[in-house]
């Protein structure tokens, strides 16, 4: 069975001819709510998904795939694959920095991530400055690696991270003051509506709210660090970032995640400042699924939620017509502990193949 699947994959190994559509016919696909749907075909052309149907109307080469086809996972905020640090500590604020300029595209981490089913990584500057710089959404494989070079401006209200004895500030109050000044004098016009704030306490959560209270329909989101239970109530009904954790760390806070889920909080997992194990995105989502009892919330936390936080839900994070064909073929449901990655297609090209058992 596995052997035949490998053979059937061979047409995908070379870049596809531009005009030809490929009709992928897996055993099942993973839908937006995290459930499996059998008998569906995904039609890919020019690196995009053009049709998803049981009987697709688009003509093209049919490829039978053994396994489950899922959208690639997204790391919502990460420092992996960067060339040394993504921080510039000679200044209080560094809004002109771009994480895209600090990448190490030859790093082996990209393939390692593909082997765990991750197809996009949002690389963010370290949250060590009050205004740290622009994030970049990077593809783990394929030819064109930087999907978006200016995604969201990373801000930080984590006191221990932003304070600096030489250049200041010395406190959360000083960090708030710096942001207020940037917002007031127009310097922040470009990013004010597109910021992610690292927060760690009820005070920093409130400061973020006060700073953004006059904004309507902003794309601002919070990334919750520290003891989330002590301030998570401030984010009821919102979409927030959360560092990945080991199973033990998540389990100790099981009651917190249950309460957060009940309060309508949706999560997007990222590995920056989180658990750095290679599989931590998937294992964190699996643990979340267990503690909240919601597989769909857990699946969204590593796919559609990070895409939505980035404002790129039409591009990445789910199987939908028009989106990038960043697909992962699993041996089972991606949140099933026994499932492994068979192959990764990025931009319509086979970017990674798991070593076959014979080897």
């Amino acid at each position: 069975m596995i052997l035949s699947a490998t053979l059937l994959l061979s047409p995908l190994l070379a870049p596809l001819p531009q005009q030809d559509a490929v009709i992928l016919q897996p055993d099942a696909i993973v839908t937006a709510d995290g459930s499996l749907q059998q008998g569906m075909s995904v039609v890919v052309r020019d690196g995009r998904i053009v049709e998803i149907a049981a009987e697709p109307s688009t003509a093209g080469t049919k490829v039978r795939l053994a396994g489950v086809l899922a959208p690639g996972m997204i790391d919502a905020f990460s420092g992996r694959g960067a060339d040394r640090l993504l921080t510039e500590q000679s200044l209080k604020t560094t809004p002109d920095l771009r994480a895209a300029d600090g990448l190490l595209l030859s790093s082996p981490v990209w393939e390692a991530l593909m082997a765990r089913g991750v197809t996009s990584v949002h690389i963010t500057p370290d949250a060590t400055n009050v205004v740290s710089g622009w994030g970049a959404l990077v593809s783990t494989g394929g030819a064109e690696r930087v999907i978006e070079g200016k995604t969201r401006m990373i801000g930080s209200l984590v006191q221990s991270a932003v304070t600096d004895q030489r250049v200041g500030p010395s406190s959360l109050a000083g960090a708030v003051e710096l942001l207020e000044a940037a917002f007031a004098n127009g310097a922040a016009k470009e990013y004010r509506n597109n910021m992610w704030f690292f927060v760690e306490s009820a005070e920093s959560a409130r400061a973020m709210k006060n700073l953004t209270s006059d904004l309507k329909d902003s794309n601002n989101h919070a990334i919750l660090m520290g003891e989330v239970g002590t301030f998570g109530g401030a984010f009821a009904g919102q979409l927030v970032g959360l560092p990945t954790m080991s199973y033990g760390a998540l389990a100790r806070r099981a009651a917190t995640w249950k309460l957060m889920h009940k309060a309508g909080v949706r999560f997007a997992f990222g590995t920056r400042a989180g658990n750095r194990e290679w599989d931590s995105l998937r294992t964190s989502a699996m643990a979340l699924s267990r503690f909240t009892g919601s597989a769909s919330a857990a699946w969204a936390s590593v796919t559609s939620n990070p895409a939505e936080m980035l404002g790129m839900e039409s591009e990445v994070g789910s199987l939908k017509v028009g989106a990038r064909a960043d697909l992962v073929l699993w041996t089972g449901h991606p949140l099933d502990a026994t499932a492994t990655v068979t192959a990764v297609f990025i931009d319509g090209t086979t970017a990674y193949r798991a070593p076959s058992e014979e080897n």
Binding site: Q159, Q165, R166, V167, G168, P169, S170, S171, L172, A173, G174, V176, E177, E180, A181, A184, S201, A202, E203, S204, A205, R206, A207, N210, G229, T230, F231, G232, G233, A234, A255, T256, L259, M260, A263
Partner: protein, 483 residues
């Protein structure tokens, strides 16, 4: 049944009675303005006091025999929720930093204060900067608790965002600063000021800049400086100015500065030696928010005992009964216990080495005290001199049980000579005036916020304790004896 009663007392009370009407029939009502009404019925609805009926009573009204009702206490000066996150030390003047943005509103200190009958409080920025920022006024409960495991509404709630601007005179503002000599340093502790003179110089510099800014604005120049905007509001009286001044000469410096800049709305904080400048304060019409000088060893602003005083304690003069020394066997046994008895020069030597709390930890490591002549009679002495006065707890409520809680401050003030009616006003209506909330807080009057404390007796009697604390019309603390 027993269990359910206990549960309801512990948890269910805060939100359950929000929209219900509560009536209290009390033997004595302390209105908060000095008046006392015997037998009164007080009705609360939707968080407000809707009627106060002298001599009234009603079926179903809460009544505890002998209990007396007062307004919820107003803490005129406290540091609840104020920590390292709230103070920006990279500059010595940070007037536009608002405590409301960074104060920790769900700290346990607010709950401690609530259980001691405090329903609203002025929160002061810390005293490490010369111009420290804008303090804020809160209710001690009723805010959004962001802690997922806390009771609903248990966090403090901001009611006056811009309470007052804080200026610190004296040691605190220069604490830890130093002058770099012959070396290059960019650590922010190597900044001005590092003397009392330097502190006052910073105040002058900033307010002269503000005056120039004010004039330039009046001349039609288009300017915006967020710090100077705040100082101009202080010069115009829109935001009150609170100057922390402990030594009597700091108090007098504050008054001189007021003459210089014409601050219309000046309040002195702490005034630990304020009795020595009481006449000047009264003449200038400046109010004082005192803080405890003796609340704990860690915060004692007053000096510790001198070596001579310790020596005096070690060699107490005989005041009576010298003949007792003659009694056989009274002092015997010293030789038997194996210990060498110390006396005379040996004891003096040990006394000189004895650790003393040295006063004023936090003030340059305790080397300088800011209250050489601190006295528990301060409130009474200020009151007698005609100084407008309110009491504050400073850090007292950071601990769960404290002898320096606001009500104890008032009791202590009475003990040292302040009239009862005025001591109660100093923690209710007069404190509310200093907080800028006197139009809806601090009195039991129709239309005021339903913040009330039912005491087991006279609130200022040391045997009284809060039976009920009501905040915004909700029972927040219930210590009534069970039936």
């Amino acid at each position: 049944m027993m269990i359910s009663t206990l549960l309801s007392l512990c948890f269910a009370l805060p939100m359950a009675q929000q929209s219900e009407s509560i009536s209290l029939s009390v033997d004595r009502l302390h209105v908060g303005n000095g008046d006392v009404i015997e037998n009164a019925l007080v009705v609360l609805e939707n968080g407000k006091i809707v009627s106060v009926i002298p001599g009234g009573s009603a079926a179903g009204a809460i009544h505890v025999e002998g209990a007396e009702l007062s307004p919820g206490l107003v803490d005129a000066f406290s540091f609840m929720g104020v920590g390292g996150a709230t103070m920006e030390e990279s500059r010595e003047s940070t007037p536009s930093i608002r405590l409301a943005d960074s104060v920790a509103l769900d700290e346990p200190s607010f709950g401690n204060a609530l259980h001691e009958g405090v329903t609203s409080a002025y929160l002061s920025p810390d005293s490490l900067n010369v111009i420290g920022g804008i303090g804020t006024v809160v209710k001690t409960a009723g805010g959004v608790a962001t802690n997922l495991f806390a009771d609903e509404g248990s966090a403090a709630r901001i009611i006056n965002r811009d309470g007052a601007l804080k200026v610190t005179l004296g040691n605190d503002a220069s604490m830890g600063n130093f002058t770099p000599r012959g070396q290059f340093t960019r650590n922010y502790t190597a900044r001005r000021p590092n003397t009392r003179m330097g502190t006052v110089w910073v105040v002058r510099r900033e307010f002269y800049r503000a005056k120039a800014y004010q004039k330039a604005l009046a001349d039609g120049e288009k300017l915006y400086d967020k710090d100077l905007e705040i100082l101009v509001k202080v010069l115009e009286g829109e935001i009150p100015l609170r100057v922390q001044a402990r030594r009597s000469h700091d108090v007098q410096t504050a008054l001189r500065l007021q003459e210089e800049f014409g601050w219309p709305n000046l309040i002195i904080e702490e005034a630990t030696e304020g009795q020595e400048a009481a006449a000047e304060l009264a003449a200038a019409g400046v109010s004082v928010a005192t803080g405890p000088a003796f609340d704990s060893v860690s915060r004692a602003i007053a000096r510790g005992p001198q070596a001579s005083e310790l020596s005096f304690l070690a060699h107490p003069p005989a005041i009576c009964c010298e003949d007792l020394h003659e009694v056989e066997g009274l002092h015997s046994g010293h030789e038997d216990n194996g210990l060498v008895e110390l006396s005379g020069p040996a004891l003096d030597f040990l006394v000189a080495l004895a650790p003393r709390y040295g006063a004023a930890s936090g003030l340059n490591g305790g080397r300088f005290s800011e209250g050489h002549s601190a006295t528990p009679a301060l409130p009474a002495l200020l009151f007698d001199a005609g100084v407008g006065l309110a009491l504050g707890s400073a850090e007292a409520h950071d601990q769960a049980l404290t002898e320096s809680s606001l009500i104890h401050q008032a009791r202590n003030a009475v003990r040292w000579g302040m009239p009862e009616a005025d001591a109660l006003q100093a923690i209710t209506s007069r404190a509310a005036s200093l907080c800028g909330t006197a139009d809806h807080v601090g009195k039991v009057e129709v239309g005021f916020d339903a913040d009330l404390v039912l005491w087991s007796g006279n609130p200022l009697a040391s045997s009284s304790r809060p039976l009920l604390v009501i905040l915004d019309g909700r029972i927040a603390v219930d210590n009534r004896p069970q039936q």
